[in-house]
Subunit: 486 residues, 2 copies
């Protein structure tokens, strides 16, 4: 940062919004882990573990989850449609995958799977997605409301870019939150208006808290434009009740807020007494139509049982905007031309998987159920183990892919972190990594009630590795607590 | 826009940067074309043409260009690696495609083609790309300098986001330019400092013009941060000489500017006396190393002979930044997790195609040469035809995918456009569309010397359709000139 830098661009003269933004999910702890991994490769046996287990990010296939066969068959055939009508293809691919690939290729103008599509995505695929939404919700969906995106992240950026004019524009975000939201608000120069989820009631989303924070922001001169709700919750794992969702819709309606509904974990619900309801379904069932509530639902192929993170497929369903504003959304989508076609195809498959009677149906359902039931078992085992740790409490992962336990740290540990100029939860997570190779993300990266400390841990390591993780975590935690006992 | 709008979001209260940005490549004329296409489908025979020919965008496969077989084979196999070791696969795929897919799958941690990768892209693929750059340039390339992106557009946005702090930060851009640059500068709230390419010398990029515009901007208090150069040019098609490039490098070095080199058309050079040289090669051959010049090169899988627009693959090679600034670039890349893996794989294939001796080599070279030689013929035929039109002059498309002819319009035509409240070139292009079904983009979408009028037309329609396009364009133009003769 010296002024005699040989470079014209320095940390002193770049966009301060870039400097300000943070993204802990791939922050300091992960960089440390990557270095440890290199070191393990160069010097095997140099650490008390022989592999790094990345529990920092919801990235199932990186931890060994296999892809869904049907989805991959269709993607491969669409990538190389020249083999669609060869006889050998029938020996390698299921009949319904071949049929589906034909359908998709026919839906693409000129069968051109390598062409830029319509800025919102291929019309035929948006038809499929709209039909999938309609089947899920029991209310109509319009393919013209679908904007397909490279994962959900660019869709969130699009909305923040549209709504944020200055630092006086606020977005209500849950705390804890997935740090894409804070990062995107920072990058677009807006103001994050926090509302706290209530840890004591299983990360409950309470309307009085929303009201309180909205009023506080207004009194500071902030124009609050939108409410972000993540359901199922990230990092918190809670699944909202329909009644709670109705209250949220009513709140947005009354206050003139855009409801930004992060629904990317809609397939990931692990407890029998909870069910995912889309905010679109809830608002339509309340009698609110297109002109009554402004609602954007984000969906992604990265999550769900399939976890196809690397395909970067996703969409937003945009409802309750005027034609003139939709034109602006379309224009900004057009600047980037379109999202990747494989991701678009996969998004259509996720919203329209094999049906009863299709050749792949049974194997597809078996793959899906295997993954979801295993995730439910892993969530429960990790939750139970974490709750047994001294000074740690952990709510249930009703859905999503994470646990977000609270760790009560001693004054001595807090002081030791201070001595290293780092947050206590960061200190804990780095210690955990160095002792076990397990990578988790400090709660400060998501936001937490001041003075409380958490970490986020995915439930994704392979089931056969869970016992070893539990015993290492338990051993580490005991040692840590003993070392820093006040 | 009425204040009694039922919607909380209106064109009056969205981000004015969004309102300001324009992207003519998918603007008004294209929307009109899409409506005509729907109308043609609903009412065949209702227009004097039976198909819409989209010459508005460099999207080769949408106009019938077939994909390169080897690339698609590898992509399909990486999408469904379960078939890699099946015997039937050898009946459907070439041996070197199978081998390459194995190599790539092995390069991906855990063989997880469905996992988020490193934020910069899969390390093994970046190694391949760096080796390809080194082979192209004869100078070393570092895989840690590669940031893989979903096409080149997000890379351009990343750089604009990094460099632009306020409307006092300027970016030198060619006029005419590809409107991604103006759109991105507007979206990030910066100032576009125009420099005019000299149409009379085949769209020459003159250093005195750069100096003049830089000084003019400085005198207005603008901090000019970067120079955008598009080579081969879009929409202009010129290929810079190495000598000219050296002068540009020297200019950036002397003025402390970041050189943003759009090199996405590096494979598209059609004239024997011109050759593509990367700015990295030119600057290294001048003796400027990593610490001497700040240079970002953008590359994409959308262009070249392969034209895989829908795959959204690309990268930027980022050199001459301090470690602290690179960390910021990495952080912003991390917020979006990673670019799509198929696009990453394809970018590696483009930079490392089949070699002599590989099973696919001869068929690959034949496919490639077929496309490039046909593009060269199409460019020449269209250029010659356009130059025969009354009042029209058109420079050569030495490279890229476009012609950008100047049309001298009569006062009567200009008045008629004014009566319709539209720019004269927009008026011309809409008339052309309505008469012929050919979609081109008005020059005003790219910028042009005030008082001159142009349009951009791709050279991409299938070769067998070129004669009909020429005769329709010629007939339309004659009628237009006659109708509006002063």
């Amino acid at each position: 940062m010296a002024s005699d830098s040989p470079f014209p661009v320095t940390a002193r003269n770049i966009n301060p919004k870039v400097l300000k933004c943070e993204y802990a999910v791939r922050g300091e702890v992960v960089t440390l882990a990557q270095n440890l991994q290199k070191d393990l490769k160069a010097n095997p046996g140099s650490h008390p573990f022989d592999e790094i287990l990345y529990c920092n990010i919801g990235n199932p296939q990186s931890l060994g989850q296999p892809p869904i066969t049907f989805f991959r068959e269709v993607l491969a055939l669409c990538d190389h449609p020249a083999i669609l009508d060869k006889s050998e293809t029938h020996g390698l691919f299921s009949a319904d995958a071949i049929e589906r690939a034909w359908q998709i290729v026919e839906q693409i103008p000129g069968r051109a799977t390598g062409a830029y599509s319509h800025s919102q995505g291929i019309k035929g695929l948006r038809d499929t997605i709209a039909a999938g939404i309609q089947e899920r919700d029991g209310f109509p969906a319009n393919p013209d409301d679908i904007f397909m995106t490279d994962g959900a992240s660019p869709a969130v950026h699009n909305m923040m870019q549209l709504l944020i004019r200055s630092e006086n524009d606020g977005i209500l975000c849950p705390i804890p939150q997935y740090p894409l939201y804070s990062a995107s608000i920072d990058l677009h120069g807006g103001f994050l208006v926090p509302y706290y989820l209530d840890e004591a009631t299983g990360w409950g989303l309470e309307i009085p808290e929303l009201k309180k924070q909205l009023e506080a922001a207004k009194s500071k001169g902030i124009n609050v434009r939108a409410l972000v709700v993540i359901n199922p919750g990230n990092p918190t794992g809670q699944v909202l009740s329909e009644e709670n969702q109705r209250d949220i819709v009513e709140f947005c309606k009354r206050e003139g807020l855009v409801l930004l509904a992060d629904e990317v974990y809609q397939e990931n619900v692990y407890v029998p007494d909870k069910k995912f309801h889309s905010f679109k379904k809830v608002s339509r069932s309340m009698g609110y139509g297109e002109n009554d509530i402004t609602l954007v639902s984000f969906q992604s192929v990265s999550k769900g049982y399939h976890g196809e993170c690397g395909k970067r497929g996703g969409y937003m369903e945009v409802t309750g905007f005027s034609a003139e504003v939709r034109e602006q959304i379309y224009k900004v989508a057009s600047v980037n031309l379109c999202s990747n076609i494989s991701g678009q195809i996969l998004a259509s498959l996720v919203m329209s998987p094999p049906k009863v009677g299709d050749e792949s149906y049974e194997s597809f359902m078996a793959e899906k159920e295997n993954i979801l039931s295993s995730l439910a078992r892993r969530a429960k085992t990790l939750e139970d183990a974490i709750n047994k740790l001294e000074g740690v409490t952990c709510n249930k992962a009703e859905g999503a892919m994470y646990l977000f336990p609270q760790i009560r740290l001693s004054q001595k540990a807090i002081k030791a972190a201070g001595d290293e100029n780092t947050a206590p939860d960061n200190f804990y997570c780095k210690r955990l990594l160095n002792a076990t190779g397990v990578v988790v993300v400090p709660g400060s990266g998501f936001g937490q009630v001041p003075g409380t400390w958490h970490f986020r841990c995915t439930i994704l390591p392979p089931e056969e590795k869970i016992p070893a993780i539990v015993s290492r975590l338990t051993e580490f935690h005991e040692n840590f607590m003993n070392e820093f006992r006040d």
